[in-house]
Structures are given as C-alpha cells and as structure tokens.
C-alpha cells in the first residue's frame, strides 16, 4: 500500500470510532498539557533566576568564610571573643586547608580595617579597608581600570575599588552638611563628581583620627594628644573597574601592613582616650591568629554551593552572593520536579489508554485484518495501518495538549491563580517576580515529538498482534 492509501484508511478507521478516538486523544491531550505546563513553570523559574543573577552582577565563585556567630562568647575583661577549646578557628593552617580543597582556586584571609586618608583639601575616613595577602590579589579576578593589582612586596600601597573614591569629603565637613557621594544613597543616573584623582593626587594616610583635623581652623574636640600623630605616604597602585558591590567600595592593601596599622590604631585610641573609637575597635578585634574572614574562590560557579557546604560541615559559616536566591530556587526546583512527575504519570496513563484503544481495534477488526491478508495485504501494510493510527492519536493528542498548555500558561500568567502566587520570601528579598510559566517553542516541538513517539510505542504491541493473526482464523471470527 502506498503511504497515502495507508493514511486514508487509517483516518477512515479513526472516524469510524469517533468517540473512542476522541477520548483517547483527550487522554493524551491532558497528559501532554500537564507535563508541558509543569516544565514551563521550571523554565520560567530558571529564566528568572538567570536574569536575576545577571542583573545583580554577582561573583558567584567567591565564598565568604567566617566563624559562626554563636561559636564563642564575648569576654568583657579580655575585650574579645573567647572560643571553647577545640573550636575550629580561622587561622593560617585553616586557610591552607581550604586552599588544598578540590575545586578551590585560592583561599586567603581577609581582614577589615579603618584608616584615614588625606588628599588636601579632601579627607576620607574609610571603614572598609580590606587586608588580603598582596600576592593572591591577581587571582581574585578583579578587573583593573588603571594601574595594577597588589603584588608581593607592596607595603603602603593600596588599590582603590571603583567607587571607593566617593568616600572623600571636603576637610572640616561634618555628617549633616556632607554632599554625600556614596553610591547607595545616590539615585540612579545621577552624575557624581570626582573629588580626587586617586592615581595621581599625593595622598597620606594614618590610623589616627586626629590626622584628619590637623591644620583645620576649627578643630573638632578631641581629647588627649600626648602622642604625636603618625602618618604615611600612600601610593595608589591601581584602580578597579566596577565589578561587584563589595569590591567597588573597598580599598585593598596587604594584610600584614593592615594588621600592624590596626594594632597601632587601637593603642593610640587607648592613649588619647578616644572613647567612641575604643568601643568601635573593641568589637572589631579578634583573638590573634583568628581571621575575621577568609575568602575562598572556587574554580567555577558550578562548585560554589558544594564547596560552601563542605566548609559548613567543618564548622564555619560560608556565604556566597546569591546564596539565598540559590536555595530558594533549589526549593522551587524540587517542588516542580514533583509536579513534573505527576504530569509524567498522567502521560503514562494516556499511553496505556492508547494501547488499550489499539488492542480493542485489533479485536474489533480481526476479521478485516484476515480479509486483507487473504486478498494480498503484506504484513508491513497491516503493521503500518495500526502504527500510524496510534502515532496519529499520540500526535493529535500532543498537538491539542500543546494548545491547551498555551492556554493554561496564558491563564497562569495573566490571572491571579491562588496557588501560583510567588513566594513572599522573594518579595522580601526585593526580587521582582516575572511570569510563572514559560512555554518555549522548543518545548512545544519536543512535546509533539514525544507524544507522537509515545503513540507509536503504545501501538507497537497491538500492531504486532495484528500482524501475527492467522489469516484463516481471523477470517472465520465474527
């Protein structure tokens, strides 16, 4: 039989049992629509997740490791945290351990400090000085706009983050009359003037708060003053491109130098009785050889969550940008996998429906099959007749199912469906939630192909049964 003849006869057979064909197609339709809709939810989440990651410009390869907040107790006598015996601490040995872990590119301690800068007539009091090992900065993947990153041997050399310059203010200005240039308070699109050309302007720095008041007509009241003010020439060796918010506002310098300056600062503050500074410094202080923070950079963002989990098991806090988002998405994904499984079950039931319909058709047409065999139908002809019929049921079920899922997707995206409301956590995190369902063209194509294939597979055994029928027995059956 030619393909056309097979098709015509097939359609005729399908039309002869209109209701049965329709019901079988309906089963496939519902199954296909269910699975397509469920997958569309997952696709929408994925697409949103990707968009959010891109928007936030997150460097997801960087993990922050800290001591857990409840690991130790504050000792008011020692003025520092005290950890119980055996608590894992963030010391040099631990940094080396992190460094040796699989998929870790580098691990480096990271401390924070507070310094005072002057590039007359401007000054800056920066609480966001980052001390790192100078030799590892080149591996941090920070883009350089001008100059270079820190390297081994750098002492009073610093690298400015893209927005760190905005900390400079006119000497003598105080909090209320500052024209604030800090990025977080500036509306988007505002032109922000540059005060200091950090790469070229001569700059000095000090750990001593009195430094920023030297030479002012109306010095602010600062007690003490026995100790002379020490300051250093500082060389800005590099300026970074904007990358992530953390690096943008910070000033990088060698960890050893910063540790020294921090200690000197605390000593001076005590001597000059700068009460406010003393309190502030105390809460920042850590026991010796216990870094406030260690940064761990993984080789690829695929490993981030896995490495973070390993570090958590070692007894530390490990955070990375977008972690909460990641966990939310992981939760959603799990939920959607469950839904997809339900969709798959309905498709399996539809496949059983097709097989049942086809077996009924074989029974019903036993005599016809016999007649056709006797008057010269080849086995292939019989097989093609049945396979095509089941494949068509699958295909049309898939086609209508895709249409139904498009309608369903439209409803989900445009009407308020109670159980589809976005997780309130997302809104709390300030994440905009897009359409809950995304039906892509390839998903439609795949669904069609899959439904057709399921039809074909379901028809295989009934078709085999039809070809195996003895012509003589079949022709005698009623």
């Amino acid at each position: 039989m030619s393909n056309w003849d097979v098709l015509v006869m097939c359609l005729r057979n399908m039309f002869k049992r209109k209701l049965r064909t329709f019901l079988t197609i309906l089963g496939v339709m519902v199954g296909t629509a269910a699975i397509v809709l469920m997958i569309s939810l997952g696709l929408a989440t994925e697409a949103q997740h990707r968009a959010q990651m891109e928007e936030a410009e997150m460097d997801m390869t960087m993990i922050d490791v800290r001591m857990p907040w409840d690991a130790g107790d504050w000792d008011p006598n020692l003025q520092q945290m005290v950890f119980p015996e055996g608590t894992p601490v963030l010391n040099d040995a631990m940094v080396d351990t992190f460094d040796a872990m699989a998929n870790v590119q580098l691990a480096s301690p990271r401390i924070r400090g507070q310094l005072f800068f002057r590039a007359d007539p401007y000054y800056m009091q920066s609480w966001d000085i980052t001390g790192i090992r100078a030799e590892v900065m080149q591996y941090m993947g920070l883009p350089v706009a001008e100059g270079r990153v820190l390297q081994a041997g750098d002492e009073f050399a610093v690298v400015f983050g893209a927005n760190a310059e905005r900390g400079f203010e006119l000497l003598g200005s105080t909090w209320p009359d500052r024209g604030d240039r800090m990025w977080m308070w500036v509306p988007e699109g505002t032109e922000i003037p540059t005060f200091v050309d950090v790469m070229r302007a001569p700059m000095r720095m000090s750990f001593d708060r009195r430094f920023i008041q030297v030479g002012l007509d109306e010095p602010q009241p600062l007690t003490g003053g026995i100790r002379p003010i020490r300051s250093y020439n500082v060389e800005v060796v590099g300026l970074l491109e904007p990358s992530d918010w953390r690096s943008d506002r910070t000033i990088f310098m060698d960890i050893e130098v910063l540790l020294y300056l921090n200690n000197e600062r605390i000593r001076t503050e005590n001597e000059v009785q700068d009460e406010w500074q003393i309190w502030f410094s105390a809460i920042q202080q850590r026991p010796p050889e216990n870094f406030e923070e260690v940064m761990v950079r993984v080789t690829d963002m695929r490993f981030t969550s896995q490495v973070a989990e390993q570090i958590r098991e070692m007894g530390f806090d490990a955070h990375y940008p977008g972690m909460h988002l990641n966990m939310l998405v992981a939760g959603q994904r799990q939920q959607q996998q469950l839904l997809a499984a339900i969709g798959a079950i309905s498709l399996v039931i539809a496949a059983i429906g097709i097989a049942n319909t086809m077996i009924m058709a074989v029974y019903e047409r036993t005599r016809e099959i016999g007649i056709m065999k006797v008057i010269g139908a080849a086995i292939m002809d019989i097989r093609r007749l049945f396979l095509l019929e089941s494949a068509m049921i699958g295909f049309f079920g898939g086609l209508f199912g895709v249409v139904l899922s498009l309608v369903g997707s439209f409803v989900l995206n445009n009407f308020d469906v109670p159980f589809m409301r976005p997780d309130p956590m997302l809104a709390m995190m300030g994440i905009e939630v897009g359409d809950p369902s995304l039906v892509t063209p390839w998903l439609c194509g795949l669904a069609l192909l899959f439904a057709g294939l399921i039809g074909l597979l379901s028809g295989y055994f009934p078709a085999r049964r039809a070809t195996k029928l003895s012509a003589l027995a079949a022709i005698r059956s009623e």
Partner: protein
C-alpha cells in the same frame, strides 16, 4: 482434545491445468475446504507439497505468501468477506491498492470490473446497503480484478437462493471462461459441479473419484424451482440483506 490427531487430508495428488474449471465436491467435513486453503497458501500441509509455477508453497514465508496471494490468486467466499467500511468500488480496488497501483488506474479497472458483474450503478454503496447477491458480485469483481492465475471459490453460493445461485455461477464461469482463468470451486452442491470441466469428489480426506465432463456453459443450466416472487436481488430491494453467515 488437543492431543487427538485429526487427519484432514491424506494421499491427495492432484494436478490443475491452466484455464480449466475444477470443482472440489464433497460433504461437510470431507476436507475439501482444507484442500482449498492449502492451495491458497492459507494453511500449510504437515507433509507433502503444493507446487505452483515451479515453487513449493509450503516453503514460502508469510511475506512471500502475501505476495503470492496478491499477484496470482483471487478469492470468492461464501460469506463475501467485504470490508464493511469501504464502498463497493473501494472493496474491488483493494487488491490493487495492496499492489500499489495508482489510484486513477485502479478505479478505472474496478469500474470495468463492476460493470462486468452488473453493478456499475451501485459502486458508491457500502456492503451493508447491498443484498447478498450484490455483495457476492462485488466479491467476484474483487477476485478477478488483478488478473489472477487462479481464482478460488469456497462455497460461493452457499448463502444464496437457487435462482441467484445460478446467476452467480453463470457470472463466475462466464468471466473465468472469457479470461481463460483457472477456477477452483469448492461445493457440496452437485448442481454447481455441472459447471466444471473436472469434478473431484473428496471423501474423508481422500480423493474418491475424478470425473472429466462436458461442462455446463453459462446460461445452459435448468432451474427446477419455481421462480420466487418476493425477492428481487437484481435491484437489491428484496429483503435478504442481513443473512446469517454460516461457514464451511
């Protein structure tokens, strides 16, 4: 039951010549139908062989047997065996459809065939809309459409009344003679046997006798029975549409 060995045919040796009309005559259960099925390649003998145009039928596989039936064999059944979903025309074209003959060509051939069996005006009708006689005419047209080497007719008139029986026999014999096709008729009716060149009597699975005779030509047969008044199969308005089909 299943263990009991039933011998349907034994020690049968027959030769069929091209262009002659044969009649396998025997009572019910004599094995004549089994013989026919074997000749048609629907059943295989446990022993012995059936040679058609130099080939042993019992050695062919399903695909080859399908080809054999498609190319060389035509069938007329007692119960017509038309496909109920197809029209008379489509039923007649079916063997050509299986041979992948082009649609226009097969319709042309089928119309010629339908005209030959006197059903030119009813080609659009489904089998359920035709009388028994008309259905058998369609079936005859179908059997002859692909110019088979041999046509097998299994009790072709078993479901028909006497008058129609003779009409049908005249029709089959007429076409077979005209085309010089081999025809093998299975029947238990001695009157039908008159039409054959050779009557082969089968009894208990063996050939009882082979009788060469001068065959009755179409139209020569004498109808004994009085003409029925309430049936008119020619136009199909009579009431024998839903006949009970009894096989074998």
């Amino acid at each position: 039951m299943g263990e009991e060995r039933i011998v349907a045919l034994e020690d049968v040796s027959l030769t069929f010549e091209k262009g002659k009309i044969y009649c396998l005559l025997g009572t019910s259960g004599s094995g004549k139908s089994t013989l026919l099925n074997m000749l048609a390649g629907l059943e295989k003998p446990t022993k012995g062989s059936i040679i058609f145009m130099g080939k042993q039928l019992e050695k062919l596989n399903e695909t080859q047997l399908a080809l054999y039936r498609q190319r060389y064999v035509g069938f007329v059944f007692q119960s017509y065996n038309l496909l109920p979903t197809l029209t008379a025309l489509e039923n007649v074209t079916l063997p050509l459809t299986f041979r992948k003959v082009k649609k226009r060509e097969r319709i042309k051939k089928a119309k010629v065939m339908l005209k030959a069996v006197g059903l030119a005006h009813r080609w659009r009708h489904k089998p359920s809309e035709l009388s028994g006689g008309q259905q058998q005419r369609v079936s005859i047209a179908r059997a002859f459409i692909n110019d088979p080497q041999v046509v097998f007719a299994d009790e072709p008139t078993g479901n028909l009344d006497t008058r129609t029986t003779f009409e049908m026999m005249d029709l089959i014999i007429g076409i077979a003679r005209e085309r010089q096709q081999t025809l093998v008729i299975v029947t238990h009716d001695t009157e039908i046997a008159q039409y054959a060149d050779q009557v082969i009597r089968i009894k208990d699975g063996s050939v009882e006798s082979i009788l060469e005779q001068r065959a009755t030509m179409p139209g020569e047969a004498v109808i004994d029975e009085p003409e029925p008044t309430n049936m008119n199969h020619e136009t199909g308005t009579g009431g024998t549409e839903n006949e009970t089909i009894v096989y074998g």
